[in-house]
Symmetry: C2
């Protein structure tokens, strides 16, 4: 699988067609613009293996399928990410033969994702069974400027014949999800229409009642000239198309430009969408494909200006990081505070819901440093607004008095995942939400956020912990029973060190913030305490008692924290003991075997040491790293980045580099054999962290940025941009030393390799290696 | 809920109609004959709350619905018990009004299950909205003699009017399961027919392709005279009926007799069933309802002769045990070795599959003592025949070299339950299957069974244990990680004492049996060892090493075995701390809360002390009992019987009595608020054990029966029959003493209260209390 795509600093290139890798390529080459997106499916028919996927942000289906023995407290539904109407389809018939690459001889084929300018280009030369040869080029994009629109330029050259070609651009709403039971379809037709030169179809999701209108307008060119074409409308159930017959001449290009728009009833009244679609299609078709594409390139140039990371001398590493940044920008733009960052973005339907703890643990740092402050703040407010539902959710599980448990998976604040070991027990997610508040305030200095929103969330979360933690009379300590830590290859364990650590940290931080808010605005504090009936004496007292008497599992002899009670009872194998044929474990081993094995899916103790590094000395971190790293299989995409940062911190630049490659090229190289389901979007923010926090050694301490650069042998130099409290810095780490360039109008003091450096506006400092 | 049914020694009586309890009554008053059965649904229409259920033994549906994250090694399907065609339906129209008790004034109502003779009688007096009054009596049964047939005698008297009554007996195959997703229907129509006076419909299950033909033949009487009636056939999709119009006279009874038959393609060629049904209906209708009913009573009398338990002076207790024995006999007759004892029998659709560890742990002892030896032997052979599938099942989970894991739930040897914590981890079931072999041989003395079948199963099971148990370098002992014990309110725990105990016992017993078989027939042993590639040196060595170095969790201070590692970390509450409003926990608490609580669903450590009582002194048993009993909520039907036996053993007759009442009246009194889903059939064998092993103190030691009688204060006397190695004994325990009567022609020596007693054929001994 590895090395399937060509290495290029700005592109992902598939050269030659291998049907076996088609679904992986469809994932990797996906397009999106924060509001809609799709997998790199073909426009023309393809009867080979593929996974159709068009997605509209925020549109989901509440699946109520039940199996097994239902548990009390389970959510009502599982939110499926919905496959929406296919707007890219263009059926092509060459005489009596349908163009279908699965049935042609593919003489040449190339698909490339242009990350610099944000489009997908596919070109091929194929020969049909009857011997007719065509050369096709298709370019398409989801517009970042007109973010409800997309456009396709589809060109065909008859290579060795002259004759009729039938081109049928269509919109097909008769689609299913791959993961639907009983082949259930999730969309009902509301209406469809072909009038003038616009065809549209409006569909409504079952149960949730979202409406999405998809419309298209097409232009035909022969050679370079636009031609009036004869077309026949085709209307079928949930399907609308325009059949165009062209007398094509050998060697002369025929081009169809398909302008399309996707409108959602989340943004419009359902009855207004048809008119709005007509306006939009008029606007973009008047602009024309080439101008739209130029605008797209400009919009991406603007993004790259702040986001780009340049790795010199290592094209593979360069391609990896750009791919990650590109996909993150395709998935979430920060412009709609109802949206969040789904783990598959617009690249697949796997995993229901759109918001996981990934957002807080992995994505917030990326947006803090690369986007306006309001983007990270919106991500925090998203959870603040859902606090009521988190309290409801905790109530369903038997918690009380305003304790909040944020959902593991959600679309709108309601829990929508239904496996007890995850939904009910993977509660460390609550800690990540508190940590993101801490992280945001540490980074931005926006302490007012705590007064207005942060403390209310923190108290609700600490209330949850204080109820979830119980007293062990046997130990005379507090314990946390029955949890699943970040390492999901353990379920329902007792005293997961990470969960206990973040829980106690939450309560400590809550107590600190109570003092801070009181000091900054006592009246505000009183109002909040009254609003949420916070009894400081009793509740803070309980928090403090737990902080003082919490049990944390550890092994004195090894000098390590134990992932959970009993971890050392396992057969102490290492990843190096595993034959390659048994990997990934999740695809080869039964669940019980995974659970009782020593193998770790993703950073768990190490995640805690990463978050709270200041509380542990370097030797402790090293001992734990040395113990757990060889037991970690990294079958979660969220794992290698944390290991990369820790390896860098411990000075092991070569391992950090290997982890970096793994995290940044996880999907391009299909490390875990699951990219065909979609890309791992949220972990891409982790890749960014592995560069900036790992090789850049960037931290925020006492309101100041600090860097501890470390450059892999393989790299000539590494540079990245960081926005921090009004300043914009470019950091360039080279073999000879590190340059911090202040691109902004505000002077700033940073810590570089432990020493304070004042960097004037529009100026730079250089420190030798 | 309690006391809803009237207390009667031979009947379960519902007097007056409470729609709220209808589903409970439908369960409790269910009928069956081992081959088919049904809930006590009304014949006439009922639009109020009800759960329709007609079941045909061995017919199931392989549900492939998926939710959540599928685990590697999961079975392909979940076997649903299928609701089959409704053959009892008789629609009644009084003039223009449909008779529907939900829409009538119910002046009187009575439903009674006659356990002595095996029929259900329902009578009521109702007034329609238009003021017409009818008195109805319906008697029906599933014939024990003609076990593919049932019959109904349905009589109506117009109380206050003369006029037309339309009676429409029907067969309705357009039924669903309550638990089906997307309202999926599981049956397709093959054909239907009305010809001469027989109506029939043949249906085929989707996917599994079972065919069931249901046919009926009806006879009409006015007064006592059979009348030729005008009838109109009605055929709809999956539905066939005969509409009969009758000019009914005030005060004169109109009676419809409906003869029905259910034939399954498991027993016939599908194409032969129609002819066979016609023959059967001819036979039974020639016999006539009254003779059929008399034969039914005689067949039940024969069963009661060996099975009955008489409790004098306590009608409630008497009713309880008879209800249990009655339902067991309705569910399984031992005549078809492809069948087994489903946990709901013919009383509901909950729980898929038909065979659980309940069969071995609870039912085998009942059949050993109350039926011919071949019945228990057939239950053992059922598993022997499925050994290949059990080995396959273990392979799917990564075990090798002939290790067998029997399924948690099955229809035919294939695992068909899909929750990882059960399917993959509740592996103690394997131990129960080995224990049943031990139990059977101990009881019957049939050691040849070990040579021919037993040892092969035992080695396969011990191989599984020896691979599932791992070495803890940290402890320098063997451990068993990641299991679910009998107490399903704990999942994925380490070192469940019960599982470890039964696993080690299995290996010990296997080593014993190896020696036994070698001694009895060395050539047979060699042949087996070759067949299954058993390497005695290595494998027996491994078993012995585990036996020597197994870790069993215990607490020195309390002097108890620990249910699992960490059990004492839990908040040590007692059941008495639980408010009634929080019970049953499974309906009130979320799963995580149940898991981390101290509360025990069913006997776990105590199950082990029950099975292996000879290995523990009485004080150890008492300390464990005193510790665990107050923490046990008995939310499994399989729990109170074991506690009853232990309480009796410990001399606590009052608690034993309370547990006995609970287990015997679990469904009648709806203790766990779930009888509406069906009755708990397998635990009924546990009730039998609680009487015979608890109050009777019956054990088998060194090939002899032994009794240690204990009579509850509330009882005048207790008597039961026991078949043992060719003898049939009646044991009567009275206040003044215990009588052992030998009903057979074979003399026997028994141990009574510790002393040996020789009981001649057709004679008795009496020992004073």
């Amino acid at each position: 699988m590895k090395d399937y795509f060509k290495v290029d600093e700005w592109k992902i290139i598939e050269e030659g067609f291998d049907p076996h890798y088609n679904k992986v390529a469809e994932s990797v080459l996906s397009l999106g613009n924060g509001r809609m997106g799709q997998r790199a499916n073909f426009e023309d028919a393809y009867s080979g293996e593929n996974l159709q996927g068009n997605y509209v942000a925020g549109v989901y289906y509440p699946d109520k399928t039940r199996v097994g023995w239902w548990k009390n407290g389970y959510p009502e539904y599982f939110a499926k990410v919905l496959n929406a109407a296919n707007w890219i389809g263009i059926d092509v018939w060459i005489g009596e033969e349908q163009l279908d690459l699965a049935k042609c001889e593919v003489i040449s084929f190339r698909r490339e994702l242009n990350m610099k300018e944000g489009y997908l280009k596919r070109s091929f030369h194929a020969k049909t069974a009857a011997g007719k040869e065509v050369a096709v080029e298709a370019i398409r994009f989801c517009s970042m400027v007109d973010d409800e629109c997309g456009a396709i330029k589809y060109s065909i050259i008859p290579v060795n014949f002259t004759g009729e070609i039938t081109i049928t651009p269509f919109i097909d709403g008769d689609i299913a999800n791959k993961d639907s039971n009983y082949d259930e379809k999730f969309w009902d037709e509301v209406h469809k229409n072909t009038a003038d030169d616009i065809s549209s179809i409006q569909l409504r999701t079952k149960k949730t009642g979202f409406e999405v209108l998809t419309a298209m307008k097409c232009v035909l060119l022969q050679g370079d000239a636009s031609v009036d074409y004869r077309s026949t409308p085709i209307l079928k159930e949930k399907y609308v198309a325009t059949e165009i017959k062209v007398e094509a001449k050998q060697g002369e290009v025929v081009t169809l430009i398909k302008y399309a728009t996707n409108l959602s009833s989340q943004n419009y009244k359902a009855e207004d969408m048809a008119v709005r679609a007509t306006e939009l299609l008029a606007t973009i078709s008047a602009k024309g494909f080439d101008i739209m594409l130029a605008e797209q390139a400009a919009a991406w140039a603007e993004k790259w200006k702040n986001n780009d990371i340049i790795i010199e001398g290592d094209a593979k590493a360069q391609q990896g990081i750009r791919f990650n940044i590109f996909q993150l920008n395709q998935t979430y733009t920060g412009e709609d505070d109802r949206l969040n960052i789904g783990p598959k973005g617009f690249t697949g339907e796997k995993y229901g819901g759109s918001t996981y703890w990934d957002t807080e643990a992995y994505c917030v740092p990326f947006y803090l440093a690369t986007a306006e402050q309001k983007v990270a703040r919106n991500l925090l407010l998203y959870r603040y607004k859902q606090l009521g539902k988190a309290i409801e959710n905790a109530k369903l599980l038997g918690f009380k008095d305003g304790a909040a448990l944020y959902p593991m998976v959600t679309m709108d604040g309601t829990e929508c995942h239904n496996e007890w070991e995850i939904t009910f027990e993977e509660i460390h997610r609550n800690g990540a939400i508190a940590f993101a508040i801490y992280n945001y305030v540490r980074y931005t200095g926006d302490e007012a956020y705590l007064d207005d929103y942060g403390l209310e969330v923190l108290i609700a979360i600490s209330r949850f912990w204080s109820q979830r933690i119980t007293w062990s009379a046997d130990r005379q300590q507090y314990v946390m029973l029955g949890v699943t830590g970040p390492n999901e290859y353990e379920n329902n364990v007792n005293n997961n060190w990470y969960s206990s650590t973040i829980a106690v940290w939450c309560m400590k931080y809550t107590l600190e913030v109570i003092d801070k808010v009181k000091a900054s605005d006592n009246a505000k504090y009183d109002a909040l305490a009254t609003k949420i009936a916070f009894n400081e004496t009793i509740e803070s007292g309980r928090f403090a008692d737990i902080i003082a008497k919490m049990y944390f599992p550890q092994d004195e002899k090894l000098g390590i924290y134990l992932q959970q009670d009993g971890y050392l009872d396992k057969e102490q194998l290492l990843v190096t003991d595993l034959p390659a044929t048994e990997r990934p474990l999740v695809q080869k081993w039964s669940w019980d075997r995974i659970l009782r094995s020593v193998f770790i899916k993703q950073a768990d103790v190490l995640q805690g040491l990463y978050f709270f590094e200041e509380d542990y000395d370097l030797e402790t971190i090293r001992r734990n790293y040395d113990f757990y790293e060889p037991r970690t299989v990294h079958e979660s995409s969220l794992s290698p980045c944390v290991h990369a940062i820790l390896a860098a911190k411990l000075g092991d630049v070569e391992r950090a580099y290997q982890f970096y490659l793994r995290t940044s090229r996880l999907d391009i190289d299909d490390y875990n054999n699951d990219t065909e389901d979609g890309c791992h979007i949220t972990s891409m923010a982790g890749t960014w962290m592995s560069v900036v926090e790992g090789f850049g050694g960037m931290r925020v301490k006492d309101g100041m940025l600090s860097f501890n650069p470390l450059l892999p042998e393989e790299w000539g130099a590494l540079s990245f941009q960081i926005g921090f409290r009004g300043s914009l810095l470019n950091i360039r780490i080279a073999k000879e030393g590190t340059t911090v360039k202040n691109l902004s109008d505000t002077a700033i003091t940073v810590i570089l390799k432990g020493a304070s450096q004042f960097v004037e506006a529009k100026n730079e400092v250089f420190v030798k290696a």
